[in-house]
């Protein structure tokens, strides 16, 4: 109808036409790791209570943590923390108004992801093979 006189406006985002951005992955990962660390912190508090409950009460907890599921769980919590830490620093920088240009935000996003992959690996290697 008024096609010719209509002003040039951006079309609204389309659900099916959508380019993947690393910055959207970092955003959702921040929430996912945050929720994961929420659970991890509650488990840590229960661990403190188990220690306070004495050696007999602690026994099964210690055995679980030393076992494969416990060790993998601890590794994942450290990895979630490493990611939340790196991306959290990114957000603190964003709050100052810096690093918000798309190219900069994408570079720092990859840095946060690489840190989350390699920092836990490095710590695991240090604990396992160091000293």
């Amino acid at each position: 109808m008024a096609g010719a006189t209509r002003p040039e406006r951006p079309l609204s985002p389309h659900v099916q036409i959508w380019r993947w951005h690393v910055t959207m992955a970092t955003s959702i990962l921040h929430r996912v790791t945050g929720v994961g660390l929420y659970g991890g912190m509650i488990l840590f508090c229960f661990w403190l209570m188990a220690v306070a409950a004495g050696p007999e009460a602690y026994e099964p907890v210690g055995a679980f943590l030393a076992g494969p599921i416990g060790q993998i769980g601890l590794y994942l919590i450290v990895a979630a923390f490493a990611y939340h830490l790196a991306n959290g620093i990114r957000h603190l920088v964003f709050d100052t108004g810096n690093g918000l240009k798309p190219a900069d935000a994408e570079t720092s996003a990859w840095f946060a992801i690489l840190f989350a992959v390699f920092a836990p690996l490095g710590l695991w290697a240090l604990v396992t093979f160091g000293s």
Partner: protein, 129 residues
């Protein structure tokens, strides 16, 4: 102010913001900066000084005054920070008012209970009989 004649938007217009956002924003950032130090210290110190997840190693770790104070600070600041963050997640993703209020209530109370238990546990390890 007849309710029937105005839209929800019309009713809240010109009343200004709820003026609660700044406190949330600042609290989240302050606790984030504190955790940057506290949580990093804790992870490194447990990984590098604790000799496995045994009972004796745990007691050894928690009876050091620096570690006990550090763990108490970590628990308090972390529970505050995660309560703020989870509140945001609940507000964003839970649409049903009843479910939302129940979850927000749990989010306000559960960390408090857990923190009290954890702090008492650290004190018990250090001063208990």
């Amino acid at each position: 102010m007849s309710k029937g004649k105005s839209t929800p938007l019309g009713r809240v217009r010109n009343h200004g913001a709820a003026a609660e956002g700044t406190g949330h924003f600042v609290g989240q950032r302050v606790s984030a900066i504190a955790l940057l130090i506290l949580a990093t210290w804790f992870v490194l110190s447990v990984a590098l000084t604790m000799d496995g997840p045994t009972y004796l190693a745990a007691i050894d770790f928690l009876v050091s005054p620096v570690n006990a104070v550090g763990v108490i600070l970590l628990v308090m600041v972390a529970l505050y920070h995660m309560r703020l963050g989870m509140g945001e997640v609940i507000n964003d993703y839970i649409a049903r008012p009843f479910t939302k209020v129940v979850l927000l209530l749990l989010n306000a109370l559960v960390p408090l209970v857990i923190a009290a238990g954890a702090l008492f546990a650290v004190l018990l390890v250090n001063f208990g009989v």
